[in-house]
């Protein structure tokens, strides 16, 4: 006991010493930002890094995000760079969907590699967000996480996709489905999500979105187990099929990931469901390569928040050419992760261009304030609006006979207030 008291006394003394050291050291310490103004920027280059979930235990990978970013930076450099500076893209750090690794990657990029910006950042976790914000590192990525909504230095490539009460809701999905059904009035819709807090929140937002677009929401439940995919969907299908006053609803909307959707949609069709089916995740031409997914998703309308690959927009043609060039001249199957990387890089480049020759964090941030452009692959962009709300644009594509076809062309919709 005596020893532990002695130890504690020693500890207290040491702590006092720390405080002395610290107060002595604080003046030496460069306040983040002042010398970091032009961190990673030289006369002819800008250093940029990325953070992407590549290897994972869940079998879900976003690694093509890196290729998308590379493609965009390659073109920028080929066109002479940004105000005469080439982009020195270090490639993406793999965070393996692990919060600790995400943080470590952010720290490495800033403290070790001294990057000016992080773009893209696409993962299911973003624990490095606070650090990047504190170190004033402009960061661009897929705004599906709350960290893309609010902080000053973090930007979603198509805005902040997590609605917050008092903010707005993106109405692309309800409006689009209404268009396919020939008007929302008198139509019923069933919304289903995973049994988790996130699923419940999704249900809440879409319930409001569909209702205000004129739909009757006949079923809205976060009821599907969130970890393992159920082997049997009959319980859920049965409930959905009778939700509309004993009849099937006009549309079934799933807010779940691909493996769940495959099971649910297959079961719905086997139960004789003839209405519209829609989800926001299954726009992946890779899914067409397998007979099972092709059949399960046949007829499904998929929501996407960028210009579809099937579009003949010249910017899309450019995108495909850039990807092909970055992949070494090979035709690689396109997917949405490439768009994430590509458009994250694009937003960064556009703001950097606007910041002008004298590129510092401050000039960059100033350029971001009041930045806006139109007609991009993600629609009309505007900052700082995008740090609070989604850009509000999207399209629906339908998988039919083994190919995606645009069912509702890409368009920006007026968002509604979220309460």
């Amino acid at each position: 006991m005596l020893r532990s008291i002695r130890t504690l006394a020693a500890a207290a003394a040491a702590l006092a010493l720390v405080s002395a050291c610290n107060s002595a050291a604080t003046p030496d310490k460069a306040p983040p930002g002042t010398s970091g103004d032009s961190r990673g920027v030289t006369a002819d280059s800008i250093k940029v890094g990325g953070i992407v979930s590549m290897t994972t235990a869940s079998g879900y990978s976003k690694k093509d995000t890196d290729l998308g970013a590379k493609a965009r930076y390659l073109r920028a450099n080929a066109e002479g760079g940004v105000n005469g500076r080439k982009i020195d893209y270090l490639g993406a750090e793999d965070d393996g969907q692990d919060p600790a690794k995400n943080m470590a990657a952010a720290r490495k990029l800033v403290q070790q590699d001294k990057v000016f910006a992080v773009s893209p950042m696409s993962s299911v976790t973003f624990s490095g967000a606070d650090f990047l914000e504190q170190e004033k590192v402009p960061t661009f990525g897929w705004g599906t996480l709350p960290s893309f909504c609010g902080p000053k230095y973090i930007y979603g490539f198509n805005g902040c996709l997590v609605p917050s009460p008092g903010g707005t809701l993106n109405q692309t999905w309800p409006e689009g489905i209404g268009q396919v059904l020939g008007g929302a009035a008198g139509k019923s819709v069933a919304v289903i999500a995973n049994d988790s807090d996130a699923g419940k929140f999704g249900i809440r937002t879409f319930q409001q979105g569909f209702a205000s677009a004129g739909f009757t929401v006949s079923y809205a439940k976060a009821s599907v187990p969130a970890t393992a995919v159920p082997s049997d969907w009959s319980a859920y299908v049965k409930e959905i099929m009778q939700s509309n006053g004993g009849k099937a609803p006009d549309a079934v909307v799933s807010v779940m990931q691909t493996p769940n959707n495959i099971g649910l949609f297959t079961a719905l069709k086997r139960a004789g469901y003839k209405g519209l089916i829609s989800d926001p995740t299954d726009y992946d031409p890779g899914l067409l390569a397998k007979e099972a997914t092709k059949q399960a998703l046949d007829g499904v309308h998929v929501l996407l928040q960028f210009e579809p690959f099937e579009s003949d927009n010249p910017k899309m043609t450019q995108f495909k050419a850039d990807i092909k060039a970055a992949a070494g001249g090979q035709d690689v199957p396109l997917n949405m992760h490439m768009v994430t990387g590509y458009m994250s890089a694009d937003l960064f480049l556009s703001i950097a261009r606007k910041a002008g020759k004298d590129l510092t964090v401050e000039s960059f941030q100033a350029a971001a304030q009041g930045f806006s452009d139109t007609g991009t692959l993600v629609g009309d962009r505007a900052e700082p609006k995008g740090q609070k709300d989604s850009f509000g644009c999207g399209a629906l594509v339908q998988l039919k006979d083994g190919a995606y076809k645009v069912s509702v062309p890409f368009k920006c919709h007026e968002p509604i207030p979220f309460s």
Binding site: A222, A228, D232, E291
Partner: protein
Amino acid sequence: MGDLLVFVLSGLVSGALYALLATGLVLSYSASGLFNFAHGATAYLCALTFYELHSGLGWPAVPAALLVVFVLAPGLGWALDRLMFRRLARVGETAQIVATIGLLVALPAAGLWAVELLADAGAPVKPAENQFGLPGVGPSPAVSWQLADGVGIDSDQLITWVVTALVAVALWVLMRHTRLGLRLRAAVDNRSLTELRGISADRLSSVAWMIASGLAGLAGVLATPLLGLSAHDFTLFLFVSATAAVIGRFASVPLAFAGGLGLGVLQNLVAGYASFAEDITGLRTAVPFLILFGGLLVLTRRARTAGTSAVDAPPVDHLAGASWLRRWGGWAAGAVLLGTAFYTVATPFWSGLLAQGLAIALVFMSFTVVTGLGAMVSLAQAAFVTGAALVAGLLMSRGWPFVAALAVGTCVAALLGALVALPALRLGGRSLALATLALAFLADQVLFQLRWLRNGDAGWSIPRPVFGPVDLSDDRALGVALVVLVAAVAAGLSALRNSPSGRAMLAVRSAPAAAMASGVSVLRTKLLMFTLSAGLAGFGGVLYASYNTRITATDFTAMTGLVWLAVVVAAGVRRPQYAVVAGLVFAVAPRLLADYVTESAHLPVILFGLAGLALANDPDGYCAAVPVRWARRRAAGTGRVGAKRADGVARADGAGQADGVARADEAERAGGVARAGGPADRAAAAPAGRTGPTGISAVPRPGPGPGSGAPVPGPRPVSATAEARPALELRAVTAGYDGGLVLHGVDLVVRRGEILAVLGPNGAGKSTACKVAAGLLPAGGGSVFVAGRDATRDGPVRRSRAGVLLAPEGRGIFPALTIEENLALYLRDADARTAVYDRFPRLGERRGVAAGSLSGGEQQMLALAPLLQRPPEVLIADEPSLGLAPRVVEEVYALLTELRGAGTALLLVEEKAAGILGVADTVAYLSQGRVSWCGPRAEVEAGRLTEAYLGMAT
């Protein structure tokens, strides 16, 4: 009704997969006593291989599946058994659990890495990520049939059912109607008796692991369309199927199989009818873990007083008794250096990394309490961390100061720990590990889904505290503060270990019953350990979160907790300073590997998983292994092993044993010297042997040897005929257990057709002598000869094959096998078994009855009867009359006499002299580990008997 049918039918699909996995778990558990957390990972690896063979290389589905299930998966099982599991079977439960957790992450990483390498080499493999709707063995997409209105099945389901049914039948045939199955079941029933019967349990273990892996492979192939290629999902699936293994009590294959099927159906029914669960977010998700937890509570009864593992003998502490400086100097210097480094050499990046390592070290030290001190494996530490940090964040968002929020968070974690500990009070070992895992998942899926607690995906901000001039938002200041905190906690834990409470904890760990008898409340002690450990984890968690400056509910999941445990145990879990090393390594190693070794994200994971292999050699971790190995080498270098150890050796957890160990060593050395000196020395040495119980003396060698002075019965060895050559001879055998020596140099000789009765009081070493003779226990010194051949190094299997049979104390039967099966293990020939039944009609009448249900006398008959048909060269019987009625004892002795007539050499050990003297040819008295007298029965005198029993020297 239609609904119910559908729920049951489709529930049977996942049920079939659970059944296959659970069967594999039970088989591998019974083969080597370890719960294979990596079983799901094996299934994943097989699914991945099948996918690459089928979709990548374009093989047809069925040959690809057959190759995986019948060749690759069993091959993997065999290799892992040889490399790892066989050796792990001999170490403590914690090391076992952790080693397979390492494999759990290493196997999938190895598979993915292989795919990556193959792709780089230009093989036509396909990427393993983002693959959905994968084809199984059947047509893809699956063909579906509508049986009735609303009742449909598809081809994948049908294939799963049919194949599982076939496997069930095949397993039944294998286990019930083949010799291999009989041996497997015998090994499950009583592993050491199997070895005594000359059947290699190691080989059976290999076979069991091959079958288990094959079943995992089958489950993997069948589950591919359902689970895709998610290692995570396969592992979750495995945890659920552990429930079925629990239903089978880790021993019964049919029960586990049925349990798996039932589990699938139950899960489906709950999902279908659990509308009540809608208000509680996550409850449906958590159903499998509720079932697992409930199952563990209801079904685990046997290990009531467990929670401890006696095999976990602590390593030798080479610094016991050393000065404070020698013990702590190195660590203190390390801490000071680390603290200085923050303000001198460390770059901001490295400061951050080291601070992170120190923060996680605080969490890791919580394992030192619950697993290191308490020997209880808790897989719920991550839940305590998350709980504490969320609460602290919630409070800080309401304006609470950091210190107050830290204190409340710590208390909440401690409270959670106490809640988790409640089941711990009745569970132990793997059941406790699984129960805490289930609770951790429940916390993730239900508790941390509460919106007011988790604050959505954003979580809570936990700004770093500022105390006056100390601003911890500077990584360097945080680092130094953490060094101080870590040192304080380490000192506190060491003080705790040496306090009365700490000694109570150690007592509960090593012998709960004894601890209870000494007035230590086992219940309170366990509760205290869990609470303390959870509180510490929470404390560390809040600080770790403040390093990150934010906590979200998904930062530390149940799976994170698994990895943490593996990292800590790999370093060493017995001392807090090892946990600090583990924390620093955990933070720094990935960076170093990435910078200097490989860019691949897979290789570090594989390396980490292979730490399990190291645990098989150094179950106490690499930190503990370094001083032990160093001390060993130094001792070997000085060449004065005995003297060194005599004054230096002390057991870490029982200083009282030091004396015993030192004594043992001395005695052994002295014994060796005496032997080397040859017969001339014996006369001189013998009197010294009687100096007293200290044992520091030479070994007396009375016995049937020429020149020993003792009367020798029967023909002398010099006559050298085959008949006269000893069938079994023990020469100057010393042997003992961890605690010290039991036999101090025993000589015994048995010849063909002779009964040697060994008498002696309790604790004289009779059973130990039997074990050494049968090869169950290796002799520390001296040698054992079988038919004139030196068999000292042979294990029980080789001894048994050489004709030496041990009928162990108690009954040498397999209680779960039938009488017929018990006989069949020794008598393969049906005619021979019929002969036994003719001789013992009682056994014949009940040949289909489990042997365990026989009376004691009948069991002894069953153990001895088959020997009459095929008499062994040597039979060692350890107290064959124990607990039998006098009439039955007579029968048993008659049988033994008959065996002698058939030429068997018998070594009979008895405590009660009365009966055995009637049949023995030679009698030896054993007392205090020595043969105090040996001679023909005729010369046995009452006085000598008394002396042998009371240990009075003449």
